[in-house]
């Protein structure tokens, strides 16, 4: 979105195609506390809304609820295909598809996504007023989202696969202070048992003893890291071992005219401020590229 407002302001015809909510991951963050210039923090929703208005003000056109199915080279142009069968052409395209929460890949997960398995506390936490939820993942995301869930749920437990959690000390202290939260380490979630489309039990294994246990929860929130949304260019552009898109010093991928910025890019820092910075930088690189063509 930052790149769109920069390019729009420069008079470049700019089209943004977004599948989900505008503003990406930042838009679903409860509060952005460390975005420069917002000394009292700003809610992710407000930030996304302001960013959208700013891009529109400078002439960017924004499509919503639209899925890009393919990006192909056609001579010196790039063609972007969308799920409604439309095709858009441009000399330069920016891949800013971000990253998504990684899934557990265990039995029952797929079936329960959207009903009892969630990846966004801000989006779905309110459904668990007075209920008991399990957060899978002991990193910063798991702890932050777990703390947020205590606004609604009467009980929030965190389970971590490793023998120790990876969340920052400050977050660990905040969680320890909450009477309605607990942390269990060294347990692997093996199955989310479903019954009639609802979560029946969480099957976990104590990795120290190998003993299986059945836990009862109303809902499960999964925060076990990110996967870059790079499927569109896999097999076409160079990606690293984690699937992140490799760029050169101008933030251009191995496909001429296709740039990448933000969480999808190899070497990105997964921070809203750095994603915005990359957006501004890539806009200038794209302008330079277009000027030379």
């Amino acid at each position: 979105m930052t790149a769109a407002l920069y390019l729009g302001r420069e008079g470049v015809e700019t089209l943004v195609i977004e599948k989900a909510g505008l503003g990406g991951q930042a838009g679903i963050t409860q509060t952005l506390d460390n975005f420069p210039g917002f000394d009292e923090g700003v809610s992710g929703a407000e930030f996304a809304s302001r960013l959208t208005r700013q891009a529109l003000k400078f002439g960017a056109e924004i499509l919503q609820a639209q899925n890009v199915t393919s990006i192909d080279q056609d001579g010196q142009y790039l063609c972007v295909y969308t799920s409604d069968g439309k095709e858009y052409g441009a000399k330069a395209v920016l891949l800013a598809t971000g990253a998504r929460y990684r899934r557990l890949g265990i039995p029952g997960e797929e079936e329960l996504i959207g009903s009892n398995v969630h990846f966004c506390a801000t989006c779905d936490g309110a459904f668990y007023k007075g209920k008991k939820v399990l957060v899978v993942g002991g990193g910063n995301s798991g702890f932050e989202e777990g703390l947020f869930l205590t606004k609604f749920a009467s009980r929030v437990d965190i389970v971590e696969f490793l023998p120790q959690v990876k969340a920052s000390k400050i977050l660990q202290e905040k969680v320890a202070e909450k009477e309605t939260m607990s942390v269990t380490v060294n347990h692997a979630v093996k199955e989310l048992r479903a019954k009639n489309g609802k979560l029946d039990a969480v099957i976990v294994e104590d990795r120290a003893t190998g003993k299986q246990k059945e836990w009862q929860y109303d809902g499960v929130f999964v925060f076990v890291g990110f996967s870059p949304n790079s499927d569109l260019v896999k097999g076409k552009a160079e990606v690293d071992q984690w699937g992140s898109v490799v760029t050169d010093k101008t933030l251009m991928t191995s496909i001429p005219g296709l740039f990448a910025a933000g969480d999808v890019r190899a070497g990105s820092t997964k921070q809203a401020a750095s994603a915005a910075g990359e957006g501004a930088a890539v806009a200038l690189m794209m302008r330079q590229y277009l000027a030379e063509k």
């Binding site: 015809e13 919503q64 609820a65």
Partner: protein, 106 residues
């Protein structure tokens, strides 16, 4: 007396846990960050009667009721996007590297 369910304060999705289109619609609202209220008609007899009454006796789900009183039954994502006023296709098919200010103002 008018049924208050026909003019909810927030979008209300009537569905069940086993219905794939209900899941898709809920996912759509979630992804687009549109607040909604979900009612599982398998666990709410009154809601089931409301859905049947709204759909001429059929238990068609998802039945989605909007605050303006309109009702959508088994809508596609494109229909939901249109209902929410989202732009889903662009004005032009090719993006020019530089457009003149006059063009942009036109």
């Amino acid at each position: 007396m008018t049924d208050s369910r026909l003019t909810p304060e927030t979008i209300t999705v009537y569905g069940t846990g086993w219905c794939p289109d209900c899941k898709r619609s809920k996912q759509f609202f979630g992804e687009q960050r549109v607040p909604y209220h979900y009612v599982d008609i398998d666990h709410d007899a009154d809601a089931m009667v409301f859905v049947e009454k709204t759909n001429k006796g059929n238990r068609s789900i998802p039945t989605i009721v909007f605050p303006d009183g309109s009702v959508m039954v088994e809508p596609s994502n494109a229909q939901l996007a249109e209902k929410l006023g989202m732009q889903i296709s662009a004005k032009r098919a090719f993006m020019m590297p530089l457009s003149s200010a006059a063009d942009r103002l036109a």
